[in-house]
Symmetry: C2
Subunit: 363 residues, 2 copies
DNA sequence: AAGATATGCTTAATCGATTAATAATAAAAA
DNA sequence: TTTTTATTATTAATCGATTAAGCATATCTT
């Protein structure tokens, strides 16, 4: 008899506040009077059945009575799979990323995966911390919005054969899975719109990082100018630091507006920049589109209340996020699959925020 | 020798695409030539040291060389703790909840916890699914924005001694940990503001659920009317269903505006309702505050662009979320601690959206 | 020098599952 | 009747850690 040992091991006697312990295969086995293995075969294999029908029924019955729920931690340890994916975004409280997170969550849930998330704040070291943290928790794969300088982290995943999909941004220096939009093309279209509506001196407010999506948006901007015979003025492009969005945007706008030849229009490279920028323009009493034309990236409740319907780049967030999850999980299931690279097309939604000297918005 | 067994177990030979395997205590033990236990003592206990200094140094050195990262899954199985908390919100893509999520994430990270999140969509069955899912993954505790009808789920946690903290909303029928705001009081203040600024016929748009926070907001509204000698008209209170926010809000506003005696003001019970409502008022060309006075709950980028600075209820999100995490983790550490119930004070931020027939906003 | 205490490391059980290998029994085939 | 095959359940290893208990040596006591 092991009564003493049992009563020590069993917390119920010791701590009165412990009511129910989770039931394990062991509990069921003891109750039914069979081995743990038999119970496992019945409950995991279902009908495969090297077990007699009566025994099988009995075990299932007891399992239900004891409200058995398998311990996923134990399963994970054995299988090496956690059915969990790590999602690293820049900031979960930014609507753009929150939206992505929601879609990822739903799509993952459909495929029976859980999501663990973390915000990198655009900082490589924070991102490193998250990746290590999640690796130790044995997530099966990652969906990552990479920050600047996160190349070695990605290499780390590569070295450890951990599947991952980059989203929103890609790292051109390596061949990864990614799902992004064609930033160059849609930026081109956005700026073309500004030109078509009669603007000639077009400023851009972007982030100062060297990430490819930002480069592409800038290159689209510059090519649009060039192809339409507008020679780019270096002072038109304002690079804002992540850490000082507000100050950066304000300084940039001040510069753009107060030069000898003020600009006609501004192209904002992200929603955050646009929100700050539009707030500041409001403060300066600069009116859209009368005093200045605007095109920005992404939508959001925020813009719904803006007095002037904005012309903006609408990203296919749903497709992007769903694709990312699907690609990731397919590669978790079969790591030998080739890398997938998707560049989706974004849409320019025409509002009323562009109208230069030459003509009004044709909407 | 176990060469054959080893080469079978080791995937490197089998699948060429597998490059590095995570190093385990076993690998270090083999490399150094000691038992796994010794390695474990050195790496987990640090300086406690029943192990000689030289051996200890050697083990640490090899551990670093092999880039050892402990397997948290294995640790969890042994310890019964995952250092993970489950966060269940209504919808992570709603800025209100995304904001909470971000603060929870940061606070949890400080205390060395990971966050797994899920969106319930205000549906009890979805919430049930999430709770079971996360229970099976052995999260150490929950932070929950409870949906209507989720009482049995909470009971389930209670039965299984799983610590949890309700946030934003509480369930009055049971004694749980919770962190909420004093909804009655701040709703009272909000409506009082409408009355003080000269409004008499004051409508409210709320959700149709029976959750306590909603009841409290409604009771605050009614008491404010009553205490100021305004007799409440049943048709002033519009209850909107979660599933049909847009339609509900529009129908409600139509009713409020088109009766024989149209209302002067609307009190919106949440940010989502306010966003929909204000959009619709815009569409109807009803101007704030000239045609109608408004007070709403919560802030957000959205309202920053609204043409009229809104008077709104500002919830102490940071305190609320941080408190929730702290309470939860303290109870994970010591389940015998008494339940904690916090009702924080919210602030009414005065904008320019209230001005009735009697007087203008005194701002 | 005999027994007592320290020191330093190993053995083995454990967490809760999975699963290959095997044993025991019954039924079918020779 | 003996051998083969099916059926049904068990044993034991495993995943990667932790940790109580045990076993050698070495060092102190007196």
């Amino acid at each position: 008899m092991q009564v003493a040992a049992n009563s020590t091991a069993n917390p119920i006697g010791k701590y009165s506040f412990m009511k129910k312990k989770k039931t394990s295969l062991k509990d069921i086995a003891k109750e039914v009077g069979v081995s743990i293995a038999t119970v496992s075969y019945v409950l995991s294999k279902g009908a495969n059945s090297r077990v007699s029908v009566e025994m099988s029924e009995k075990i299932k019955k007891v399992a239900k009575e004891l409200n058995y729920q398998p311990n996923q931690i134990a399963k994970s340890l054995k299988s090496g799979k956690t059915h969990t994916i790590g999602l690293i975004v820049a900031d979960i409280s930014n609507p753009f990323f929150a939206h992505i997170a929601r879609i990822v969550e739903d799509e993952a849930a459909k495929l029976d995966y859980t999501v663990i998330f973390g915000s990198s704040d655009e900082k490589a070291d924070k991102s490193w911390g998250l990746i290590k943290f999640l690796m130790n928790r044995q997530v099966d794969g990652f969906i990552i919005v990479p920050s600047e300088g996160s190349n070695d982290q990605i290499q780390y995943l590569e070295d450890h054969n951990k599947p991952y999909v980059l989203i929103d941004r890609r790292l051109p220096e390596r061949e990864s899975n990614y799902v992004v939009i064609d930033n160059h093309e849609v930026a081109y279209q956005a700026v073309k719109r500004l030109i078509d509506t009669g603007n000639e001196r077009i400023g851009m407010i972007a982030y100062s990082n060297g990430l490819q999506h930002m480069r592409d948006r800038v290159s689209g901007y510059r090519m649009a100018l060039q192809n339409h015979g507008i020679s780019f003025d270096n002072s038109w492009l304002k690079a804002v630091n992540f850490d000082q969005v507000k100050e950066g945007v304000r300084a940039g706008i001040d510069d753009l507006l107060n030069g000898p030849k003020p600009i006609d229009a501004i192209f904002f490279a992200t929603n955050t920049l646009a929100v700050e920028g539009l707030k500041y323009l409001d403060k300066l009493n600069v009116r859209v589109p009368d005093d200045i034309s605007i095109v920005c990236f992404d939508q959001g409740d925020a813009f719904d209340f803006y007095y002037c319907p904005l012309t903006y780049v609408k990203q296919p967030l749903v497709t992007m996020s769903e694709e990312a999850v699907r690609i990731l999980i397919s590669q978790i299931d079969d790591p030998s699959l080739p890398k997938v690279q998707k560049s989706l097309q974004a849409e320019l939604v025409i509002g009323k925020s562009c109208s230069g000297r030459l003509m009004a918005d044709k909407n």
